[in-house]
C-alpha cells in the first residue's frame, strides 16, 4: 500500500471522505510528514506548496469574488510512531471571496510525534472563511501538537473556526490563535477537546476587536478525566465603538483531572463591550438526575452530557 493509500485509509477511518481525491470539483492538499502526496487546485483557487526538510510550506489564495462551493480539504499527518511535521500556511482570501476548509490532522500511531502548524491568514474586505479542523492522535498520547495562527479579518469580513479533538488521546496540545477583527467584521472561534490519561491541554485564543461594530466570540468546551489538565485563556479586547465580544468557556472535570480558565477582557473604548462566562466543575447534578430519571445509568448519563457539550 502506498503512503497516500495508507494516509487516506487513516483519513477514512477518522471520518474523512476518501472521494475528495477523485472528485475534480474538490480542491485538496494531502501531506504525510514532509512529503506532499496529492494536491489539486480549482478555478479561482491558487495553491502553491513545497516540501521542506521538516514539513511543508503552502500558500493558498482565493481570488477576488470567488465563491468556492465545496470545502477545500487539507489532510496532514504522520503515520509512523515517531516524526516531526512543521506546516507553514499562508492563506489569503481576497475581497468578496468565500471558502470553507476542512482540515484533518491524523497521527494514529503517534508515540513520539511533534506537529507544528504556523498559519498566517488574511481575510479581505467582505470575504468569508470557515475553517474546521479535526484531529485524531491515536491511543498512546505520545504527541505534541502546537498550532499557531495570526489572522486579520478585513472590513465586513467573517472568520469562523472550529477545532475538534474528541476521539483518542490528546497528548500535549498548545493552541495559540490571535485574530484581529476589522470594521463590521465577525469572528467566532470554537474549540472542543476531550482529554484523558495525562493529556495536557493549553488553549490561548485572543480576539482583538479593532474596527467599529466588530464582533467576536471565543467558545471553548473541554472535558477532562483521569489525570489530564487543561488551561484555557480567552482574551478579548474591545478597542472601537460598537465592538462586542464574548468569551464562553465550559470545562467538565472528572477523576483527578485539573482545569483552569483564565478569561481576560479589556476595553479601551467607552462604546465597546466585552463579556465573559466560565463554568468549571463536575457534571451538573440536576442534568445527571434528569437523565437518570429517564433510565440512564450514572455512567451513561455522564457520557451523554459530556458528548453533548463537545458536539
Amino acid at each position: 500500500m502506498s503512503e497516500l493509500e495508507d494516509l487516506m485509509k487513516a483519513f477514512g477511518d477518522s471520518g474523512g471522505d476518501k472521494n475528495i481525491l477523485v472528485n475534480r470539483d474538490i480542491a485538496h492538499l494531502v501531506a504525510s510528514g514532509h512529503k506532499i502526496l496529492s494536491m489539486r487546485a480549482i478555478e479561482g483557487l491558487e495553491v502553491k506548496a513545497e516540501e521542506t526538510v521538516t514539513g511543508i510550506v503552502a500558500n493558498v489564495r482565493v481570488m477576488e469574488g470567488t465563491i468556492i462551493k465545496n470545502p477545500i480539504h487539507l489532510c496532514f499527518g504522520i503515520l509512523h510512531k515517531k516524526g516531526l511535521q512543521e506546516i507553514k500556511m499562508n492563506v489569503r482570501l481576497e475581497r468578496g471571496a468565500f471558502a470553507g476548509f476542512i482540515a484533518h490532522c491524523i497521527f494514529p500511531k503517534a508515540e513520539k510525534v511533534r506537529h507544528i502548524m504556523d498559519a498566517v491568514v488574511e481575510i479581505g474586505e467582505s470575504a468569508e472563511m470557515r475553517y474546521s479542523e479535526v484531529h485524531y492522535h491515536g491511543p498512546y498520547g505520545g504527541i505534541e501538537v502546537i498550532p499557531k495562527a495570526d489572522v486579520m479579518v478585513g472590513k465586513n469580513g467573517r472568520y469562523i473556526t472550529d477545532f475538534s479533538l474528541i476521539s483518542g488521546r490528546v497528548g500535549k496540545l498548545e493552541i495559540n490563535y490571535t485574530v484581529s477583527v476589522g470594521e463590521n467584521a465577525v469572528t467566532e472561534l470554537t474549540a472542543r477537546v476531550f482529554g484523558h490519561g495525562n493529556d495536557s491541554i493549553k488553549i490561548k485564543e485572543k480576539v482583538v476587536l479593532e474596527g467599529n461594530n466588530s464582533k467576536g466570540l471565543i467558545k471553548t468546551r473541554i472535558a477532562i478525566e483521569e489525570k489530564a489538565t487543561a488551561e484555557v485563556t480567552g482574551i478579548t479586547e474591545g478597542n472601537a465603538e460598537g465592538a462586542r465580544g464574548h468569551v464562553d468557556c465550559m470545562e467538565i472535570v472528572k477523576d483527578s483531572a485539573v482545569a483552569q480558565a483564565i478569561p481576560i477582557v479589556k476595553v479601551s473604548h467607552p462604546l465597546a463591550k466585552v463579556t465573559h462566562e466560565a463554568a468549571i466543575g463536575s457534571v451538573d447534578k440536576r442534568q445527571l438526575e434528569t437523565l437518570m430519571a429517564h433510565g440512564l445509568t450514572p455512567e451513561e448519563a455522564v457520557n451523554v452530557i459530556v458528548r453533548g457539550i463537545l458536539k
Binding site: 468546551r221 440536576r286 442534568q287 438526575e289 437518570m292 430519571a293 429517564h294 433510565g295 457539550i309 458536539k311
Partner: protein
C-alpha cells in the same frame, strides 16, 4: 398491593422537620393530585419518591409494588418505572429534542409526543435542548419525554407552572396519554384547578396529608384556606 405506598415517613433537614408521619398510597393508573401551599414540601415529596441525591426519609418507608425502595438509587427506581418531571427542567448543550425523546429507545417515533404538547415536530425535533428554548417550550418537551418513557409512575412537579404557562388542555392531553398507557400520576401543584384532571386529590399541610378524596372537595378545602404560605401551624381543615 398499592403501586406506591408512602408509610409514615419523617424527613428532617438539619433541625427542620419537613414531614412528620406522612402517609399516602397511589394505585396503578390512578391520577392523584397533591395540593399544597408554597413551602409545604410538595417538591420534597417528589424528590423522595424519585430518590434524588440526599433525599432519604429520616424514618418510615417508601414502597413501590410492595417493595421498600428507600435505599434504591434514582436510576434503579427509573428502571422500576418511576420518573419525575422537575418543576424547572434543566437544559442540555448539544442534545437535540429528538435525542432527548429517544433516550430510552431509538425505536420511539418522537413526533407524536411533541404534537401532544402543542409543538410542531418539524420545527422542534432538530433544535437543541439548550437555552435557546423558552421556559414553556422546555417544559412542554419535558412532559412529552415523560409520556415517551411509558413509566409505571410519573411524578409531575407543578406541570402547570412556567415562564410561558402551559394551558390546561396541554396538561389534560399529557394526563390522558399517561392514563392510556396505564401510568399512575402524582400531580403536584399549588393551584386547585389542577385537581380537576385528577381521579383523587390530597392536601398536604404542615408535613402531613391532611385530607384526601374527591378532587373537587379537596380543592374546595384548599381554596378556602386562610394562609398563603405554610406557617407551620396545624391546618384548621384536619
Amino acid at each position: 398491593m398499592h403501586l406506591l405506598e408512602i408509610k409514615d415517613i419523617t424527613y428532617r433537614v438539619k433541625e427542620k422537620e419537613i414531614f412528620s408521619g406522612l402517609s399516602l398510597a397511589v394505585e396503578t393508573g390512578e391520577v392523584r393530585a397533591i395540593l399544597g401551599k408554597n413551602g409545604t414540601g410538595k417538591s420534597t415529596l417528589a424528590y423522595l419518591v424519585m430518590g434524588c441525591e440526599s433525599y432519604i426519609p429520616t424514618s418510615g418507608e417508601i414502597l413501590f409494588e410492595g417493595k421498600v425502595i428507600n435505599d434504591i438509587k434514582l436510576h434503579q427506581r427509573a428502571r422500576l418505572g418511576i420518573t419525575l418531571a422537575w418543576q424547572e427542567p434543566v437544559r442540555f448543550e448539544g442534545i437535540s429534542v429528538r435525542d432527548y425523546l429517544t433516550l430510552k429507545s431509538k425505536e420511539v417515533d418522537p413526533s407524536g409526543y411533541l404534537e401532544m404538547v402543542g409543538l410542531y415536530p418539524e420545527l422542534y425535533l432538530d433544535r437543541m435542548l439548550d437555552k435557546s428554548l423558552s421556559g414553556g417550550e422546555r417544559k412542554r418537551i419535558e412532559l412529552a419525554s415523560i409520556v415517551a418513557l411509558e413509566p409505571r409512575l410519573a411524578v409531575l412537579d407543578e406541570p402547570d407552572s412556567g415562564i410561558d404557562m402551559l394551558s390546561m388542555q396541554d396538561i389534560i392531553n399529557v394526563i390522558d396519554a399517561l392514563k392510556k398507557n396505564g401510568t399512575a400520576v402524582l400531580l403536584i401543584s399549588h393551584r386547585e384547578e389542577i385537581a380537576k384532571v385528577a381521579d383523587s386529590a390530597s392536601l398536604i399541610c404542615n408535613g402531613k396529608i391532611v385530607c384526601s378524596g374527591n378532587p373537587e372537595k379537596v380543592a374546595q378545602y384548599y381554596k378556602s384556606r386562610k394562609c398563603e404560605v405554610c406557617i407551620e401551624e396545624v391546618c384548621v381543615y384536619v
